[in-house]
Symmetry: C2
Subunit: 424 residues, 2 copies
Amino acid sequence: MKKEDHKVRTWLRENRVRGIKLLQKIVQENSTRGNESSTQAVIIEKCRQLGLKLDIWEIGGNELKNHPAFFCDRKDFEGNPNLVAVLKGAGGGKSLILNGHIDVVPVGDETSWRHDPFSGHIEDGKMYGRGATDMKGGNVALLLAIESIIASEIKLKGDIIFQSVIEEESGGAGSLAAVLRGYRADGAIIPEPTNMKLFPKQQGSMWFRITVPGKAAHGGTRYEGTSAIEKAVLVIQRLQQLENQRNAKIKDPLYKDIPIPVPINIGKITSGEWPSSVPDTAIIEGRMGVAPEETMESAQLEMESCLQELGEQDGWLRENPLKIEWFGARWLPGSLEGDHPLMTELTNSFKEVMGRTPVIEASPWGTDGGILSNVGDTPVVVFGPGVTEMAHDANEYIVLDDLFAASEIIALTILNWCGVDDCN
Amino acid sequence: MKKEDHKVRTWLRENRVRGIKLLQKIVQENSTRGNESSTQAVIIEKCRQLGLKLDIWEIGGNELKNHPAFFCDRKDFEGNPNLVAVLKGAGGGKSLILNGHIDVVPVGDETSWRHDPFSGHIEDGKMYGRGATDMKGGNVALLLAIESIIASEIKLKGDIIFQSVIEEESGGAGSLAAVLRGYRADGAIIPEPTNMKLFPKQQGSMWFRITVPGKAAHGGTRYEGTSAIEKAVLVIQRLQQLENQRNAKIKDPLYKDIPIPVPINIGKITSGEWPSSVPDTAIIEGRMGVAPEETMESAQLEMESCLQELGEQDGWLRENPLKIEWFGARWLPGSLEGDHPLMTELTNSFKEVMGRTPVIEASPWGTDGGILSNVGDTPVVVFGPGVTEMAHDANEYIVLDDLFAASEIIALTILNWCGVDDCN
């Protein structure tokens, strides 16, 4: 073990209580959409104490709102800033973005929680609370990694660009704003809850709404109408076929253990108002997964062509076309080659800390990685503590040991990636 | 033409204005469910003037509510009575029930109406208003037929039992109450809007609700859940098969021009709350048509067995069974042989008035005829002015010429069915 590695790992092990207190403080602040500021304030104060160069701003403006990757239905962002905090390097090293989102999803049914959703309650080595896993735990892993280096008085060559962004859960406007503000780097780590796996690729996703027309009639003479539900069944079957076709094409070994790499999920259907009437409209809503190497546009086009084809084959739909809308939030896919140097560094650090080879997969969901890589041209690996299943659930928790292990792995990766200044 | 036939037809032709005014008065009263009394009051006063023996009562009581044909979600019937008004015959003739319901369906979207829904507005030989067709027009045809006989000073042998009942649109509790009060006869005519066709058979119907279980999961890992929508598609397909099987068995020539004699209508489906979640429940609601010769119970059993079979074939449904409920309103089917004397009399009267043979079919919807025939053991033919399509629609109207033609046909049928007393 190199001298610096030893220093940061020792510091992290000796400062667990400090790290847990920081996480607890952050988890105890509610940062659901529109309420991010109080949590952001804790992060800002931490970065100020660490001596990082702070850039705090409220996102917005036409460049952002007119950007093709901007999908956001939030009216304004006033009072809930983005934060970028830079640890300037001495020069001559590679830069690294450490990106975490500060927003959390709603708590859902509060009665399903055993403790207050913002309790930060600790039990059996786990801390509970909305956002503990997704992804305040990851954010603290980043901050502790940075602090371990600063506290160990190590001077880096490359810059560390720490980002605490809003709006990830709603489509990534916060990270997009950071990219448009000029923040790019030679690599990026996003500690989303991957359960300590490395995700060089991430599935993108987008929502669709298909409106299926029918013609009303009395149920007793239903042959005088056209059932929107019957036509909706044709649409669902065609989407199932499309899902099969799209997934049959995916040969990437990262997906070898994933039954449906890029699912088309039909999440919702509503049709009809009265049992004895023929329904005149059906509305299907769902989520289309986008493969890491694919563009959103080509995936959209594929679904649109497939439904167009269905429309041509069905007499009723030919005269009464389906309407397809792409609405709501969306996440760009991300793809990094498996032998990219950032993967190599992370893998090595992982082995050093964990004593085993990491599992490498593709994520089944989108992250802000798609924006950093596609728009910001920054190579991204998603890697962090916490398990996906807990992420949006009641009684969300993070295993604290994983958080500290991830922090050690990230700290070692920073040292190797950014490089240690010799004059240190 | 017989002397009495001539008299009643002449009276009806000379008293069109009187008939139209009566209809207008009745159409202008709102008799939606729970508001039947003011319309009923006009009918009662008319029957009193005609010298009929009135039986006015509020329905209810345990005999009614515990009857197997009672399906009603109305809390109480207070203030909105049923009416039976009898024209006693001299004896020695056949009795005839003339049954019409006084309740009308809601007006729906008022802005779709060109006039007030209770205007009774007349234009181009049509009277407009909720219930004009379904079935205040038919009721007035009955009353005018009775009045034409009384005004012509014709004495009948058999009794005429005029019934103005509530609750037909919600499952027939009014007619059931009349049957249970003892009103039965040798025949019955119900002037529902058949567009002047004779319906010796009527389709029954009942509502079903099928709850389809699934298992929630994130859409990106949808293979970890079970889509209730996908399972609902299996249910819909199986119901389509069942509909085919059931209709293939129907060989009755009355159905020769009807594409689907007894449809299974899927009227409603709701499933899912979020586009990117796997839906954990789907609810399907619909209307099952019941063939005239079938019982409600055997039709229910057929659907239940068919879904049971599906459950046995599908691994998920075997462990997580479908739930089937029979809920809401229902109408018993009705069936009269084509050569029944009442059919013969109605056909003859029709020919005399219209100069052509009537169209004879089976109704695609239920009426109170199912209760009169199944529970009251009274042979029923459904025949009346007005077109089905208008029945529950905005701008409902009745063609006044049809109303008077139906009234003439019914008057002649009464004379022949009940018989004219020779001492007349």
